[in-house]
């Protein structure tokens, strides 16, 4: 597996940087200012990207958790953990960017907007997952326990989504939706959004690989320690 991925490893960073550059240009300069919200609206491009990354990570954690429970191979536990870390990172950023955007537009840092609320609940699930991993003495047991949480989270996701939207009296049409009702008719705006989503998705993938590599090294270290002196 190590030599096979080297092509992706060499291509991913430069491609990511390229796309990210284009995305940032479009988001900050290329796309026009929003008619209603002004330049602040540009936060939208990065905010949605955080959203995409958070959900991708969530799905990944769910999948990895399921596969770990079924196959019991360490790889899936590593993927789950890496996904949860990145998920927590992007989720936090999603909440932060959403909040920063809300302040000038809606006049308040926090609203119980269904999407923000959903993201908050997800954040808590991610945090619980990582906390669980760290608070268990036996790493294998910890992996199983976290996997249970991972699977539960994904199974629950749709229900949480419905609950939160109904709570606010809104019927969700599509989960990933535009905020603030902006129509995004302008092609430059659409381009900015798509580029941004793509760029951060690539970044997410890159960071995931880096994190997985780190986890692999950690696994090696643990194995070598075990060989030197069991329990060292």
């Amino acid at each position: 597996m190590k030599t096979k991925t080297s092509l992706t490893d060499t291509l991913l960073p430069p491609v990511t940087i390229l796309v990210m550059g284009a995305a940032m240009y479009m988001a900050l300069v290329g796309a026009p200012n929003d008619a209603d919200q002004g330049p602040v609206q540009r936060i939208f491009y990065v905010h949605m990207a955080m959203w995409l990354a958070t959900f991708s990570a969530f799905g990944l954690v769910g999948l990895a958790s399921l596969l770990y429970l079924v196959k019991k191979t360490e790889v899936w536990d590593r993927v789950g953990r890496a996904g949860a870390e990145l998920g927590l990172l992007f989720c936090t950023l999603g909440l932060a960017t959403g909040s920063i955007w809300a302040k000038p537009i809606w006049g308040t840092w926090w609203t119980w907007d269904p999407r923000l609320t959903l993201t908050l609940v997800l954040w808590m699930i991610y945090a619980a997952y990582l906390l669980l991993r760290n608070l268990v003495n036996d790493p294998q047991q910890g992996a199983s326990l976290a996997a249970i949480l991972g699977v539960s989270g994904v199974a629950d996701l749709y229900l949480i989504n419905r609950a939160v939207y109904w709570w606010r009296g809104i019927h969700p049409a599509v989960v990933v939706n535009k905020e603030g009702g902006t129509g995004l008719h302008d092609p430059a705006m659409r381009a900015a959004l798509i580029l941004s989503l793509l760029a951060f998705f690539l970044l997410f993938t890159w960071l995931l690989r880096l994190r997985l590599q780190s986890a692999r090294l950690q696994g090696d270290v643990d194995r070598m320690r075990d060989r030197l002196a069991p329990g060292y």
């Binding site: 808590m124 669980l132 608070l135 996997a147 629950d156």
Partner: protein, 219 residues
């Protein structure tokens, strides 16, 4: 499986630990939360369903924790695991036992709630019954699973609410919203979507629990 449930019930009848702690904590929360609202303020009436469910959920969390903790302490679980019983069955048995405990506690807590909030007695009980039953089932299902999970961690009792509550969002929101509407006199049809949501939640976690419980109790 019936024997397993019966065993749990028998232990409880002798020690009455779980139901007692459920009751006391529930009562405490009802009182404290009532203190949070001025008795004459209209806010109080609006807050009633929320208060009820917060009390049920936090008392329930504690109760389920105790019930599994006790099982661990007395190494019953080890003994059970040695026997050729399907883990999923153990999970279901514990869930049903916990459910029964919670229902028993509700028999006291709900009247108290009615008493404190000055609601019509029979009407309230009749109206709330479907929500109570559905929600407590789901609560027991997810609680039993994650109590087993959290007891393996260093943070033990603190871990359970951390794990359970975010996931229980549909349960909590559903219970509170449906209760609020029902108490206000809305017909069952008006809250059907919430009840359905809770029912699906129950099903999902019963299945997840049944399938994954074995991974939580490998010792």
């Amino acid at each position: 499986m019936l024997t397993l449930i019966w065993k749990d019930l028998l232990i409880e009848l002798r020690t009455k630990e779980t139901v007692a702690s459920l009751l006391l904590l529930g009562l405490l929360l009802l009182v404290v939360l009532s203190f949070a609202f001025d008795p004459t303020s209209p806010l109080r009436k609006e807050a009633a369903p929320g208060v009820l469910w917060v009390a049920i959920i936090f008392a329930g969390t504690s109760g389920i924790n105790r019930s599994l903790l006790r099982e661990r302490e007395q190494s019953c679980l080890q003994g059970l695991l040695l026997a050729p019983v399907d883990r999923g069955t153990i999970y279901l048995a514990k869930t049903i036992a916990n459910l029964l405990f919670m229902l028993a506690a509700l028999c006291v807590l709900v009247p108290l709630f009615i008493f404190f909030f000055n609601l019509p007695f029979v009407t309230t009980i009749v109206r709330l019954l479907p929500v109570l039953l559905l929600a407590v089932t789901g609560f027991s299902a997810i609680g039993t699973l994650f109590a087993a999970v959290s007891l393996q961690t260093r943070a033990r009792e603190v871990m359970l609410p951390l794990l359970m509550l975010p996931l229980s969002t549909p349960l909590f929101l559903g219970a509170v919203e449906a209760s609020a509407a029902l108490l206000a006199g809305d017909p069952l049809g008006a809250v059907a979507h919430w009840l359905q949501l809770i029912a699906v939640f129950d099903l999902v976690f019963l299945v997840v629990g049944w399938l994954t419980f074995e991974y939580a109790v490998v010792d």
